[in-house]
Amino acid sequence: MSQLDQQSLDKAAEAAQKLAASTNTKSNQSAAATASQWQFPYGFSPYMAPPAYGYGNFGYGQYGIQGMNFSCPTPAQPPTIPQMQQVAPKDNQANTPGLPLGFNPAQLSQIPPPAIPSGASNGSANSSNFSSYSYFGNYSQPNQSWVSNQQQNNRNQQHQNQNLGGAGPKPIRFSLGPGKRGGAHGFNSKNQQPQANAVASPSSLVNSSNNFAGNTNNVGGIGGQQQNGVGYQNSSSAYAKVASASTSNSTQQNVGTEYRNQSNLSNAYSSNSSSSSSTHSAFSNQNQRNGEGPSQPSARDISQAMDPSVWPQSLQDYVFRCYELCKSDVDKDRVDIILRGKVTRAAQDSVLQSKDWSKEPLPEISGGQVKMLPFAAVGPIKGKITGKPIKTEDFGAGRGGSNNVRGGRGGAHAVVGKLPKGRNNKWGAAKGRGGRNVFRSTSKSGSPSRSRSRSRSVDSSGSSSSSSSEYSHSKKTKRRRRSSSESSTSRKFSPKQSKISKKKNRRAKTKQAKISNMEKKGKEEQRNVHMYSEYGLMQLDEDCKTSARMNARAARFAKENRAQNSSGAKGKGPRPTMKSRLGGFADRASANGALWTIDTTGSNNTNTYEDTDWSETVVIGTCSDLEKRYLRLTTAPDPSTIRPESVLKGSIEHVKRKWKENHDYFYACDQLKSIRQDLTVQRIRNDFTVYVYETHARIALEKGDHEEYNQCQSQLVQLYDTFPKSANKIEFTAYRILYCIFTANTLDLGDVMSKLTEDVKKDACVAHALELQGAWALKNYSKFFKLHANAPKMAGYLIDWFAHRERKHALKTILKAYRPSIPTSYVKEQLALTSESDWTEFLSTTSLENTIIYMDSPINSKINAKDSFPLVMSALS
């Protein structure tokens, strides 16, 4: 059972893996640059981190099976950790809700990787390392639920504590949302902390907030650091002094916000308009910058080691082979970790280029059952190497592009491979000074007003260091807005509220301030993330049908929850859990998104949320976006990303309209899934819910998406139980019968049939389905195809799913029964393949072209049944 579980996890992890591998490049580059420009007050060798975690601490088995709870061998975390108390600037905090964590410079000394207790030396390396990982991590983050976010917070917090108190053992337990990205996440959180530490407290706050906010934020932050160099640090120090964020001109604040802005921008690309081009420019800028980055050899080299483009061919081949070995996503996770370790080591030993990778032993994959993937890993690796930028399209306008990317599920790998590019690009855009360009470009592109004004202010500011000034300005503006909006929001929370709440507030505020930007950003990020997550997800869904897996997953989350609660027990804020990490990465919120309204029947706004029963919690969304990407929630939802029913009603019509216009299934499915998710999260179960599921079921029927259809169907079964009067209940009952035939599940079929009343059986759809069932059971192909031709409503689509299967059987039967020959026309008629093209298409899709032997070859009017039969049998067996 656990194996099954693992497998399911694997799939989802796959995309993450690929991405991670391919994306390291960027982060490393930027990191390198950062490192070079920076002095690192803290230090621990970043390089050690990957191997240490990768090999030593993450037991593979554990990680796979336990649902990605990584526990470091270090002692368990102290039972009670004052959460969020460590925030350095007290006053600030109140007014800067966006800052998730306060890091004291003191913390900097602390080092996560157990391998190197507290190396103060490798600061630069560290930063680079982090950046790369954090990128990785970030991208995985959106998928993770608030739990992991929370945990991250907690962890950071813990680190802080420990740091302050001396280097204690640090408890590391990562809870990975979707499961697969576990590894990534783990890295991420660890890395993030150091990163945050590295930066002076305010900036660290910013960074971390960025991290939460999205994939690219983190990176952006780093980039900014890199470019700003000294200024940044200064500002950070100043930050602490300047208490209230609201209107102050202080640079630090600006810095903080700037990052956000940048990240926003990156997100903005994804906004509804044609942003891709602008993105590109930004990317290119960024890339250049990275390339120019000053050199600090060792650290940089190492950081670059993660860049596939500098790998020797043999290494690239080796990596490729390794991935080929991967059967599952967990495998890929492992391979990823292993490879990272190997490369890092090689880089450290400076043998990266010289080593003969072809002789390197391939990593061992669990169970020895190594299989080739149906889709080779070529895509991603190639993508990595070529480094060709590919834009990720945004939701609205860029639809076509994203479609391409997502083209088919089978192409998941390829997609992954490409995506990193886009990500990288975006990422680059989000970085450092690129920000400015970004702004401009953004304004060029769809989301004009706000970003434009901001950039203008930047320009006008004309202060000393261009970049920093930019930051400051933008920050200022943001600040102001935030503060104004804040007042209302912050009131809602007691002053004691934790940073998380503040963060939340701030985010919300920020959102308010720059809704458009944010939304864009949110979308963009989400999109990025989403690609992967969706794949992982879908596959997960597919594979998660067994109870064992589901239970394991549930247990995992339960564990996370527990861990969360215990660590957060002392937190002062409203349940940090509430702020989902979704909120973090998807900063898109409506104007009222600032208020996160959470209705809890229980009193969980106090410190006692250990026992909170989530089943009692009802979230009411505040998001007003018509469109939203689907992203699997693994944790508590963020109301600012959830759309209330009224909005959803508009959404579904919107989706339907779009579906009718261009029949873009990926878009429709994605949107419908997110609508379903919003409904689920808010526990909306009414006629509208039925309508949504029916709509999705119909579209899935039409497009032959079995998995989605099945999900909708199983929900509909429950919904119809609750709302027996639903208008389409009978129709969908008929589809359910047909679906049972499709899956040849006689047990389920009996189940459905046992619940049919006489009235229902008289319904045209059900009657047809039952007749078809009878014909199918007796292999009466003649009747079967006649019924198929006369299928009512959408039944035909469903029957299409298994029509070929029945045809094959019918063909076998006919060829066996008739001698010496059978007219081709008769066979075609029986198989309901009247047109020549249908016939040839059937033969080709079932690869039977060469098995049919005709009596009169050129005319092909008669089939030689005797000779064809054995051929067909062997072809079909």
Binding site: M1, D541, C544, K545, T546, S547, A548, M550, N551, R553, A554, T680, R683, R685, Q711, S714, Q715, Q718, T722, N745, T746, L747, D748, L749, G750, D751, M753, S754, G774, A777, L778, K779, N780, Y781, S782, K783, A810, K812, T813, I814, K816, A817, Y818, R819, P820, S821, I822, P823, Y826, Q830
Partner: protein, 409 residues
Amino acid sequence: MANMTLNSYVYQVQRAWEDCDGDRVGELLSIRNAHSHSTRLLESIYEYNDTDQLTSQYALNWPLNELVSYHLRVLTILSTPPRSYTTALSVQCQFAQSFCKVLQSQTHENWALKVMEQLCRDLRTIALNVQKYEPMVSTDDHAPNGMEKAADVIMGLFRVCAADTRTQESETKRWGMLSLVNHLFIIYFRINRLHLCKPLIRAIEQQTSLKERFPREQAVTYKYYVGKKAMFDSEFRVAEECLEYAFKHASSIKNKRKILTYLIPVKMFLGILPTRECLKNYNLQQFQEVAESLKEGNSRRFYNSLKASEQAFIQDGVYLILEKLQMLLYRNLFKKVWLICGTHQVPISTLECALKWSGYNVTQDETHCIVANLIYSGQIRGYVSHQHQVLVVAKTNAFPVVGASSNAD
């Protein structure tokens, strides 16, 4: 017993545990036992259902303090008015999980298997009740329901038992496997997860040394479910074998009747019709008509007999199987036609006519199709000449004995 105090209850559990009296411990930890109705016990439970208290006040040590504590909590939940099976289930699951650890820690002894059996039975009962009375409206497609939770816990126990391979036969915990598998079968059948049964069956079949020596009642249950599963998989030979074993060894009439519900259709598929007497003895007359119409090749009568007991057949899950018997019916009908014709060339139109006479309003194409299917499945030896529209049957053994042909589906 019926009015036991907590004090004496704890004492008894302790004694039984020290004596390694698995049966007694099992009883005392079961919700079925009389103690669960003791009002005095239940009253005192409210005050003393905490593990620590049990430890301190009654000197219960691990693991008994934990187990008793869980059990008492389950009792409390089940006896307190807003009885929540869901809650009880989750506590019972914890109970079982905690017991799982105990079981694992016990090496070279297997008396606790008796406790495990009771425990699993309770677990299953509670889970069934959850499904019955508190069906969860899941908000998530993948949320495990009560049955799945229970199945998972039992699976954990099963793993512990199955892994105990190094011990001697007399003290191995593998003896517990079969009862666990049976519990799992019951659950899986209830939640339509038949595919999960396969690994279990394999695990049992691998116990070569123990396989034949499991307790009879367990073996009967096991064979019953394996046979049932085989029937749903259309593996009629396997089904027949297993169900026959179960039928022969089952003790109660009720169980025998249940087994026959599946054994009869399977046998009919293999060409063996039940006797009137047998059906009467077990009150299974609904099969009477089916069997006779089958023999007769009377489509109308067959259809009517199915319709007459449709609900019962569907509930038992045999309706769809019986439906497939129609092919057998056609075979019998065609054989009669062939005998009447007296030649080995039977016009399709004649067969069509016969079908129509027997109450099945077919078209010519469908007749062709039926004949072709019979030939394909080996129930008619011969071929159809499309050109002449005749069925040409073999000169010898044109209609092989039903069940002899292995090609039947």
